[in-house]
Symmetry: C2
Subunit: 356 residues, 2 copies
């Protein structure tokens, strides 16, 4: 019915047009920009409303798949599970059914995780999916996971996060052997929770460029590509970093409006500040990918405006084209044949299972 | 023997002259500056070395208490416990014995916590002492604890941290009813670990200005005075914030040396950047206080230079003069008489004990 898989060679992305603080207008604008860049868009939401807003915003027509329900930003997960007709459920289902190759939503992230698991299923070999997010650093960027899905984790969960993060960074940044570390309260092996120490032992026995523990301040120094942590610490870390960034920009703004010298110098530096802001702005870095489910699902920040939506759609499209899910599956299983040859990854993953 | 309690009316601070990356020179310079501001200093360390360095640095004479041993920055805690003759042990012991009113060290923070507990004892009513640290915010500052002593905490530990943090901020910032919050991965009551949710319930039943959960980004907005968390998350949060701050300053430096416009504007804004840097610089905010032991002990950053040492000595002196330890004791016990009248604090603290 839809003009899926257009002649651009790019994948189709289902976009939840109803999720997020600025839905649907900013979502529609962001989707239109991604469409202009060649991505086939499939909007999901209340069709009549979306048609009306597209016309009001003077945007080009985009295919719409109707979804009667909407999930609120604060909706309880029990209610979320039952709302099978929500734009989020339908978007994820369209990917599972093959009508789209990836889905993007700026809705409630807990809901996105639950719906991704329900509609797409969890990957074989993964116990708990995770959210991963790219942070800016002095060099290229650092991928942090889990940033919010799992408040409590086991050592095996952390090992699985490490494997998924490594695959993600290999694809996203074209690095062969990303440096992987555990986020801890000290760089020595004996620092951290019981789970971190156990995960460190397991990771040292895997064929991976595991460099040990890193502390929070080292994440930005450009010497590590994947940083693994539980979702509670990851969330607190990510939001703290975001908060202090905004705080510092506020201080700068205060200073450059203080007097005439400040105003002139501030105006002269305005392009420089713009470059810095873009470099640290989450809107430029795409959304948080759901890792460990059977499809590519990207969660944008709830406050996302059009630009962040476009970035996330392009990111989701690329991850689908790079076959993220299959690559994670390969890394996890590595495969039965290799397992029989004694693949170290498989052994490490089963290490504790054997002991039990 | 020493000229303790001079005629300035200020307290005596024992200074571990051997701990920290820049010991003893920067410690000595910082101590001399604090002495110049009226604090009675009692240096602790290898007397002959310290005398030699004081002479070489042309500093005024300060009383020295000899301590033969030194604790290394990476020394294992088992070894630390046994090194009773270390400058750190001796400094803490001098406070317990009444020869000084507070102690300051820039040594290994795990060692400082262990030695403080051993030499000064844990306060009655406290199960686990904590490190607390003041962060800059858009308004006055926010006190975060625990920032590293306890990787794993119970709900009761968090409640005790909240009480200690509230007292600290009442004294340090002269606020009557500091706003206290739990650091969590969402502001709703149902967000967070089991321990956080339990602690939230307990804190809601205490006579305290408890405002619920805060997320990492809200810490800097100036709407909360005390933020409570486990030491693992607190450490990661603090270091992440420190790391991203340095990263942003690096980006600014890069931009203002990029071209001639940047250089001129950067030079014009140099005093402004200086003001911002001072506002966020940990060296201006004092060290991390050990809360929950029977004496005032302040732990400076290992990288501390003279200025940070001076700030921390002044901070320790003030906390001793404000009788931090007694004030915490009062808040905890509130007191036997009040407990008999059914003090809600005491009830909350014993809530789980009764259930068991």
């Amino acid at each position: 019915v839809y003009s899926l898989n257009g002649n651009t060679g790019l994948c189709t992305v289902a976009v939840d047009a109803m999720g997020g603080d600025h839905a649907p207008d900013e979502i529609l604008k962001g989707a239109a920009e991604a469409a202009a860049r060649g991505v086939t868009i499939l909007l999901v939401g209340q069709a009549s409303l979306l048609e009306e807003r597209i016309a009001a915003l003077n945007l080009p027509r985009m295919p719409i798949h109707d979804a009667p329900d909407v999930i609120g930003m604060d909706e309880q997960l029990k209610a979320v599970r039952r709302k099978k007709g929500s734009s989020l459920h339908v978007a994820a289902r369209l990917v599972t059914e093959g009508a789209a190759d990836a889905a993007v939503s700026a809705g409630n992230s807990a809901a996105i995780m639950v719906v991704s698991m329900l509609e797409c299923g969890v990957q074989v070999g993964i116990d708990r999916p995770a959210f991963g997010s790219m942070l800016p650093t002095v060099k290229d960027g650092c991928f942090l996971l889990d940033v919010g899905a799992n408040s409590v984790v086991t050592a095996e969960n952390l090992v699985q996060f490490a494997i998924m993060g490594e695959v993600y960074v290999r694809l996203a940044r074209k690095i062969d052997r990303p440096r992987v570390a555990l986020l801890s309260n000290g760089s020595e092996d004996f620092k951290g929770t019981k789970e971190i120490k156990e995960a460190g032992e397991l990771l040292r026995n895997i064929d991976m460029n595991f460099i040990g523990n890193v502390e929070g301040n080292h994440v930005f120094e450009g010497n590590v590509d994947v940083v693994v942590c539980d979702g509670f610490s990851g969330n607190i870390f990510l939001k703290g970093v975001e908060g202090v960034g905004l705080f510092l920009f506020d201080l700068v703004r205060e200073e450059v409006t203080r007097d005439i010298v400040g105003k002139i110098a501030g105006a002269a530096l305005s392009p420089a500040f713009g470059r810095i802001r873009r470099r640290v702005d989450y809107q430029e870095h795409g959304g948080a990918a759901v890792l460990g489910v059977n499809e590519v699902i990207v969660n944008c920040h709830g406050r996302s405006r059009a630009r962040a939506i476009t970035t996330s759609i392009l990111q989701a499209e690329k991850l689908a084209r790079d076959r993220l899910v299959e690559r994670i599956g390969e890394a996890l299983h590595h495969d039965d044949a290799e397992a029989r040859r004694g693949s170290r990854i498989v052994r490490a993953l089963h290490l504790r299972g054997e002991k039990v």
